[in-house]
């Protein structure tokens, strides 16, 4: 696969019925591979923000951006891959644990700065927020415990602003 990697696209889209169908239809039709897609309200009423993790080569993803931008309801598209940006995903993981196993799982969760959000007699629910790689690593570490259910939001991303030079003077 010539340089296939996961790219993070952030699109601002009009909050119309069917816009998700249009985006999904475009990806399917052109054969672009969606790793994850997260949608929610943006700062502007009437517009949503979509974060789409798409797998492909740089050229394929460039074509994907152009095709996305052709959708009338898509106002902007940014590829945040490699750009200064904060990306996060939320995962909830239900793990089958006996009472004896609880402290062990709690300890690992703590190391990963996750949270235990529910405990039952036979299971615990761990909430983990962070970069996708961190969640993947956490899942790798807890393979000794039987996982009952995983629910992940898919990644969301936001670009960082330029902080400017150290002397605090704005650049022209």
């Amino acid at each position: 696969m010539n340089g296939t990697e996961t790219h993070t696209l952030v699109a601002t889209v009009a909050d119309h019925p069917g816009v998700l169908t249009r985006v999904a239809s475009l990806f399917r039709r052109r054969g672009f591979n969606i790793a994850s897609l997260a949608v929610g309200h943006s700062e502007e009423p009437g517009y949503s923000r979509m974060t789409i993790a798409v797998e492909g080569s740089a050229e394929e993803v460039k074509q994907c951006e152009k095709q996305l931008y052709k959708l009338v309801e898509v106002v902007s598209v940014r590829n945040l891959t490699g750009a200064p940006a904060v990306t996060r995903e939320l995962a909830m993981i239900k793990v089958r644990v006996t009472s004896n196993e609880r402290p062990g799982l709690a300890e690992i969760t703590d190391i990963f700065r996750g949270e235990i959000v529910d405990v039952s007699k036979t299971s615990m629910i761990v909430q983990m927020t962070g970069a996708q790689s961190k969640i993947d690593r956490f899942l790798d570490v807890i393979t000794e415990y039987p996982i009952e259910e995983i629910s992940r939001t898919g990644v969301i991303a936001i670009a960082r602003d330029d902080v400017g030079p150290r002397n605090g003077r704005a650049r022209g």
Binding site: A14, S25, L26, Q63, K66, Y69, K70, L71, V72, E73
Partner: protein, 576 residues
């Protein structure tokens, strides 16, 4: 508000505040867009719209077609011949799904058509009501944009957006699905003075730095070629194309849709390239050092194998759709912009250059590989002769609408088109059955122009019910059926690539002249050369629609041909 969206699109002819029904809003929007002919068939969900059309009969001609697919193709022909937006309309469910092929055809060929479909009334949507189908769901991937209008107050804005989207930037089909009760409700809303779509800002003039770079690359080229596409026609840039070619002594080849954008009898014209393009046009593409792609998407039927297409050549690509640039060919100078405006910036930078050695080389190929020589055929009329006869009798002034398949290639090859909008064919999607309904649209776009529908027997049968429309509406189209009793291109491919295992290629045809007569048309059938010439002369003079069932050689092949999967290095020429 940017200047790009600055065109006034207020669709209302009524005073502001006057209540209008949804149906009237649609009619007013059509008038505002300059549409004077629409094509359609009514049904339950669109009856209220037809009640509005009843009151607009003096200003909008409704042509009742006999299958909704014909409405879409006729609207396509009307749009391409006028440069305006075409309108096709149907009812919900089956009426709308019958136009799906047309939408797919329009988006492939960048043709602006607005589709008005009725939908079941709002309370019934989602209930699997009679004649309900999720047609906006179906049309999403094959339209430029689509709307399901759930509030009549939105309709004036939606209609003006629909016409704006269909006609600007890279034109394309826009689908407006309107529930029956929305047609009936009234609104006092009017369309905004200007369309304002934040996510839609088509480019105008190409980037100045890139235009300068394009000029440098073109001026430095020894063996440049202009590849003229449909964009020249859409943008109205034929004059600029002529100036570019003549100033730089740059030869021009065209795509199928570019045919006629540069006069085909001009010494710098080297005809159409591609799978059935002229041998010398294709030979030129392997030797060129600079491809100037103007309003073309470098379609696979034009390009063939990419690595044999201008190997090592610099590529300058101007197109209004950024997604087409770099999609097929690696591009050295990408320019996104309207062709006419961008070429106007480029032209002053183009040096007048002598390119005699290159032109001599190309003319040498033209001499040695004539491609358009019609072989002797004592026992049968060849289909190419028919096209040539139409060319001769019309003095090259007829508008020709070809169907899909062998007839399409012969019609593009054996007629010399001198202007844009003289040759029409469905190049991208390739839907058989296009020519007859499209020819109706082309004829009604300008009734002073002679219009010839050149179709195969297979394609004719797909929309032959439109003989009824021709007769009922008196649409003066001349239909030349190149009747070889086969799906000819299928037969040719089975001969070439399946060792003559003919499967599903033979057509047991009716007598098309008699069929035409039964529909009330003037129909003539013949297999003789003399009678063919007489019949074409008669049709040319005859005041009314004519169908000529011309029995041509059954096994004639289209040459030249580039075998699919190969490139311009492997052109098969006529062995005779």
């Amino acid at each position: 508000m940017s200047a790009i969206n600055g065109q006034s699109t207020n669709g209302s002819t009524a005073a502001p505040g006057t209540p209008r029904t949804g149906g009237e809003v649609v009619c007013d929007a059509m008038l505002a867009a300059g549409v004077d002919v629409i094509f359609g068939m009514p049904g339950g969900a669109s009856l209220p719209f037809y009640d509005s059309l009843y009151h607009y009969q003096d200003r909008i001609r409704h042509v009742l077609i006999r299958h909704e697919q014909a409405a879409g193709f006729a609207a396509n022909g009307y749009a391409r011949a006028t440069g305006k937006v075409g309108v096709a309309t149907s009812t919900s469910g089956p009426g709308a799904t019958n136009m799906v092929t047309c939408m797919a055809n329009d988006i492939m060929d960048s043709v602006g058509v607005v589709y008005i479909t009725g939908q079941v009334a709002r309370p019934a949507i989602g209930s699997d009501a009679f004649q309900e189908a999720d047609v906006t769901g179906i049309s999403i991937p094959i339209t430029k944009h689509s709307y399901l209008v759930m509030d009549v107050d939105d309709l004036p804005r939606v209609m003006s957006e629909a016409f704006h989207l269909a006609s600007t930037g890279r034109p394309g089909p826009v689908h407006v699905d309107i529930p029956k009760d929305v047609f009936l409700e009234t609104t006092t809303e009017t369309a905004p003075d200007q369309v304002n779509l934040r996510g839609y800002r088509p480019s105008k003039v190409g980037n100045a730095r890139m235009v300068r770079k394009a000029a440098e690359v073109i001026n430095a080229a020894e063996r440049p070629i202009i590849m003229a596409g449909h964009g020249i026609d859409i943008s109205g840039a034929a004059d600029e194309l002529m100036q570019l070619a003549t100033r730089g002594s740059i030869p021009v080849v065209s795509t199928l849709h570019g045919v006629g954008t540069f006069p085909e009898t001009h010494p710098l014209s080297f005809g159409m390239l591609g799978m059935h393009g002229l041998a010398y046009a294709n030979f030129s593409m392997r030797q060129t050092d600079c491809i100037i792609g103007l309003g073309t998407r470098f379609d696979d039927r034009a390009v063939g194998k990419e690595d044999e297409f201008g190997p090592g050549a610099k590529v300058v690509h101007i197109d209004i759709d950024p997604a087409e640039i770099g999609k097929v060919l690696e591009t050295d100078v990408p320019i996104v912009g309207d062709l006419k405006l961008t070429l106007q910036k480029l032209l002053p930078l183009i040096e007048s250059r002598d390119r005699t050695p290159w032109l001599d080389q190309m003319n040498g190929w033209r001499r040695d590989h004539p491609s358009l020589k019609i072989p002797d055929s004592p026992d049968s009329v060849l289909p190419q002769e028919v096209v040539r006869a139409i060319y001769d009798i019309s003095g090259g002034e007829a508008r020709v609408i070809a169907d899909v398949g062998q007839n399409q290639m012969w019609a593009s090859q054996h007629f010399w088109y001198e202007r844009p909008r003289m040759f029409f064919s469905a190049g991208g999607l390739g839907p058989m059955g296009y020519a007859l309904p499209a020819a109706m649209g082309v004829k009604l776009a300008d009734e002073k122009q002679d219009v010839w529908c050149v179709t195969g027997d297979g394609g004719l049968l797909i929309n032959i019910q439109e003989f009824n429309t021709l007769a009922a509406e008196g649409i003066n189209v001349k239909v030349a059926v190149l009747n070889n009793a086969h799906l000819g291109m299928i037969r040719q491919w089975q001969e070439f690539f399946y060792e003559g295992r003919y499967m599903g290629a033979f057509l047991d045809n009716p007598d098309f002249a008699k069929v035409a007569q039964a529909f009330g048309l003037h129909g003539v059938g013949t297999s003789s050369r003399d009678e063919m010439h007489e019949a074409i002369a008669m049709a040319h003079e005859y005041d009314g629609p004519v169908v000529l069932d011309l029995h041509v050689d059954r096994v004639e092949n289209v040459y030249p041909m580039i075998v699919p999967g190969t490139g311009v290095n492997s052109v098969i020429e006529d062995p005779r």
